[in-house]
């Protein structure tokens, strides 16, 4: 059996956070029934699209987020849809939603009603700021959540302050992050429910998840143990760490100890400049002047190097230097190939492609992609047969 076989999930979500949460469950074998509004989930309209057009069956985003799921097309806001929804709720263990605050109540699924009608149901709602929404935060996107969370203002490290703070990588990083905590809470709730048949309401705030992703720093700030202020470097660590251009692409170098310094000396041909530095300067004498001089020499050196070769050599010496990988590098990574991080998935419209999978290998119950994302309404008849779901 798979780890989550027999767990039945109704996915009302139609955005990235909820759909990714559903995928995390489905890839471990949960039966995830995705209710799509007429015309399909909002994510079907978003790229990247597979070659051949931008119709709803060609969204690579949807295909990625909805592996292993069943699709039922239903207008839950209509009267007949409401009846069907109630019948489906009788049959499932978990509901996942990521509509804005108020939507669940508008379809009759406020937490109180759910608790009285379906006391064994685990209801998980993912929203930008949680179920109680301040007036000045009603309208939000991943960008604005990222900047509400403290991350945005401090991105990147060591910024050029004439330029704006930046968005997270990609379009949906806060959504993916929130989905992980949602999935964790859902399975924890299912774990307890297995013994006592009690459901739960889980309220995930994307802002709160993102802020908690910097708990090591923010908890110290809240406790008064670390200074706070308007500096965009408030999260930063001192030192010459950073991204440097290589012959092709970029490498990231981290240096914080005398051992790193000694390893750098072994890597370089020209080390005369290093003699001016105390051996323990990274720990005890990290002045802006030394950082600047060090960066200047590292820049000159790395500009002639191949990022993968120099990283391998540095790692052998104990210098923390790694390649800055892009999408192609990841697919070509020997480590990713060894761990089968990419899996070949054949989609009836989009064809065959290598999908990124999950970052954990479980020896007994590995995650698997057994079926591609469903076509819109592909499983409607199965679940809506004769109006008797």
């Amino acid at each position: 059996m798979t780890a989550l076989s027999g767990v039945r999930v109704l996915e009302l979500a139609d955005n990235v956070a909820g759909e990714y949460c559903g995928k995390l469950l489905a890839d471990f074998g949960a039966e995830v029934i995705k209710l799509e509004k007429p015309g399909g989930s909002a994510t079907r309209k978003l790229g990247p699209f597979a070659p051949g057009g931008d119709d709803p069956e060609r969204s690579g985003l949807f295909a990625y987020l909805n592996t292993n799921k069943r699709s039922v097309e239903l207008d839950v806001e209509s009267e007949s849809g409401q009846g069907t929804l109630a019948r489906l709720l009788d049959r499932v263990d978990v509901v996942i939603d990521d509509h804005p605050v108020g939507w669940l109540a508008s379809v009759g699924l406020d937490p109180e009603t759910v608790e009285s009608k379906w006391p064994a149901l685990v209801l998980c709602s993912i929203t930008h700021f949680g179920a109680e929404l301040p007036e000045d935060r009603v309208h939000a996107e991943d960008l604005t959540v990222f900047h509400s969370s403290g991350w945005g203002y401090h991105t990147p490290s060591a910024p050029d302050t004439s330029k704006p703070p930046l968005n997270a990588a990609g379009r949906f990083l806060p959504s993916y992050e929130a989905a992980m905590d949602a999935a964790l809470c859902v399975v924890a709730a299912v774990y307890e429910r297995h013994e006592n048949q009690l459901g739960r309401f889980i309220d995930i705030s994307m802002q709160q998840v993102m802020t908690s992703r910097c708990d090591y720093v923010v908890a110290q700030m809240v406790a008064g143990d670390m200074p706070v202020g308007p500096e965009r470097t408030a999260y930063d660590l001192a030192g010459p760490a950073g991204i440097f251009p290589c012959r092709e692409g970029y490498a990231y170098i981290w240096m914080s100890t005398p051992q790193h310094w000694a390893a750098l000396r072994e890597m370089l041909d020209d080390t005369a400049w290093m003699d001016e530095f105390p051996e323990n300067w990274l720990e005890r004498g990290c002045t802006p002047e030394r950082v600047a001089l060090c960066r200047e020499h590292v820049t000159r050196w790395l500009s002639t190097q191949d990022k993968h070769e120099v990283a391998a050599a540095a790692q052998q010496l104990g210098l923390t230097l790694v390649a800055v990988n892009n999408g192609r590098d990841l697919q070509e990574s020997p480590q990713y190939q060894f761990r089968n991080f990419f899996a070949e998935v054949t989609h009836p419209v989009q064809g065959t492609a290598l999908y990124p999978t999950v970052p954990y290998r479980l020896s007994e119950t590995p995650a698997r992609i057994e079926s591609p994302a469903p076509l819109l309404g592909q499983h409607s008849s199965e679940y809506l047969a004769g109006g008797d779901a």
């Binding site: 309208h139 604005t144 910024p159 968005n167 802020t211 090591y216 202020g229 990231y252 020997p334 954990y360």
Partner: protein, 401 residues
Amino acid sequence: MSLKSRGGPLEGVRVLELTKVWAGPAVGKMFAYLGAEVIRIESEGSLDVTRTFGVDDINNAPGWQSVNPQKLSAQVNMKSEEGIELILDLAKHCDILVENLRPGAISRLGLGYERVREANPGIVYVSMGMWGSEGPLAYQTGYAPCFAALGGVSALVGHEPGSPAGMNTRYSDSSFGASASYAAMVALFHKRRTGVGQFVDVSAVECISTMIGDSIMDYALNGVVQDCVGNHHPEMSPHGVYPARNEEWVSIAVRSDAQWASLAECLGQPGLADDSRFRTLAGRKANEVELDRLVQEWTAGLNAMDVVAKLQKRGIAAAKSQSSLDLIADPHLWMRGFYRDVTDHAGRSKPTLGPSWEMSRAAEASDAAPALGQHNDYVFGEILGLSAEERERLQAAGITR
């Protein structure tokens, strides 16, 4: 049996933590906040760097306290065979073991999966490594920003194409912890239903790649290697972070033509709504430099919160880019109890971060991080049933110090 009943979905679950620094402890923290009893193994001879770095008092170290709330601390010297035996005995009383030591270190200590499984076949054994536990690059080590660089997120954060600046240095550890926690939770559920334990092998770099799964799909489907786009977005425009008065910044995201028309009114230039350059998303994307200039001209004269208020009233997503000062004063995060007071080992009240979630019948989250060895008596006396004399002998021999 557990030392304290806190309720929550994982009450009665016990986690053994052999971890260092941030990512590993993040797993124990999440389980503790779900109600599990989490025992962190420490020793005087190998203290966590967060207890000591730049700190005078190891029991009040700020970094340590931030990622170890509500855990128990028990001291075992893992460089002694008797200490290893003690941990193996303890593992028999635990459901999950989590480790994030340097590659291969846990096996060299004699606590690799095979040996722990002999002691407790039902254990969920979670191994966390930069690249995972095996493979051609598994020997490599790195810190959080290395995970970000290797996993592909750093390449996507920068002001212009081809100028990666990366996420903030602090990004990755806690994400890695969350991913490992989810995998451990799934394995724990399998153990509850079948009694079967397993080896859970988590890769930090792969975890980071899953934060940009859709970007990677563009390469998979179309051979497109995505690059930095500043603050732009293919499906929303304007979409950016704009300067406000007093060196504040405000983030704004416009998702429809109607929202753009509202924004144009805010700018005091309603005519821009029908301007052929900006009327459609494609037009706004094609003229984004000019578009950003127009928005910036408006925001620069206002306080960030005034921009937010005006845009929210018109249904447009906007938020102040919160500095650390803004963040710790955020009334919403206090109201939700995310920032909360907990009680430390000396009985003092101190604010820290609660769980990232709210849930009904949640576990109580009220205790701060433990002092070194604070729970030795409970762990060795009550869980392992060792007599006071035996505990004294172990301590005198340096096994539990």
